[in-house]
Amino acid sequence: MPDLGLNVLFKGKNLARLLGGLGVALKISLLSVVISIVLGIVVGLLMTWKNPISRALMRCYLEIVRIMPQMVLLFLVYFGTTRIFGWNLSGETSSVIVFSFWGAAEMGDLVRGALISIPRHQYESAAALGLSGGQTYRYIVLPQTVRRLIPLSMNLITRMIKTTSLVLMIGVVEVLKVSQQIIEANRMSSPNAAFGVYLTVFALYFFACWPISLLAGFLEKRWR
């Protein structure tokens, strides 16, 4: 049985530091999730609006976000805009900006899909029953949309949590950075630390995302 380097975890405050790193990652993703849900609803409504200009704009926005890798977006915001506009962004702020920018587009598309999937006759029957526009949205459209939306947006949330691992590249000290530090610090005493520490990080991410995916799958089945 070779030394797997798991013992490094129990030295000092290593485990607590790793969890703290995960906390930073989760904090960034939570902030961006909240922002992107709010913005995403607006974007989604704009997408279904019958105004060609706003639709074309939103379509462009979505395509840009779809096609650019998040990593490139992060670099653009962190290195690009700071140079061009001369302001000073911390790594965390720029990652929140990027993830919200990305999440709002994806969320907007989900909202649009959910709104479109409500059949026309639902609106028409609501009108026939004498409900006003606001009432139609409140009692007919929203409950159905939200049901379709929640499982999908939970999948998006897990994707955002996973993508936060990228912020390491722009110098935010999150879980992966912490694990690199731990490995460096223990290079002499336990050379195999890389295996154990990365395995732990792997497991941490898995247990952060797995419950959310499970819940999403469960809700999807239940509400079908």
Partner: protein
């Protein structure tokens, strides 16, 4: 263009993994089926970056040597395989049970049912998801610079370091990603439209 090369290799590998895993689930092979679903859960719920770090830095410590190139392809295939499995599986599940039953009552064998009845329909249904996965995987290749592969991202960083012309390098980076991904995206939506006509005649 190392980015493209790894991307294509990784995607081909992940399609292969996806097909094998879907077949295993479709034919309900005992035990292996459980292993497949565990694999899908694990790789879907962890980021590619972590998987790469684990493969590249972690595995050599227990005696498995890899070079960054093979490691990149393996990581992409590991992640992509599960996404492809999901896409194909949802396609197969969406084909109505009636189809299988009527095919069986026409006297087709199990393989024939799959070949002539299920597969064409499932392909059409799962195509949009499949295309989205291809684009997703190509985008994920940008992560590889983390394990010191000379991909687009890494080259861009290198150029910034060399010439200190951040804006120009970043602009080129964006243009090159557009060059790679825009054709794929457009091609995907064209094929998707054609297949929809072919599938349902509407």
């Amino acid at each position: 263009m190392l980015t493209l090369q790894i991307g294509v290799l990784g995607i081909l590998a992940s399609i292969a993994i996806g097909i094998v895993c879907t077949m295993i689930q479709y034919f309900k092979v005992p035990f292996v089926r459980k292993a497949v679903s565990v694999y899908v859960e694990i790789s879907r719920n962890t980021p590619l970056l972590i998987q790469l770090f684990f493969i590249y830095y972690g595995l050599p410590k227990i005696g498995i040597r890899t070079n960054p190139y093979a490691c990149g392809v393996a990581g992409l295939a590991f992640l992509g395989g599960s996404y492809m499995t999901e896409a194909f599986r949802s396609g197969i599940e969406a084909v109505d049970r009636v189809q299988t039953e009527s095919a069986a009552s026409l006297g087709l064998s199990g393989i024939q049912i799959l070949r002539y009845v299920i597969f064409p329909q499932a392909l059409t249904i799962s195509f949009p998801a499949f295309m989205a996965n291809v684009i997703f995987l190509l985008k994920e290749t940008s992560v590889f610079s983390a394990i010191s592969l000379m991909d687009l991202m890494f080259t861009a960083k290198d150029l910034i370091g060399l010439y200190y012309q951040t804006t120009e390098s970043l602009f080129l980076l964006v243009v090159f990603y557009l060059l790679i991904l825009l054709p794929v995206s457009v091609l995907g939506s064209i094929i998707e439209r054609r297949m929809r006509y072919a599938g349902f005649g509407s």
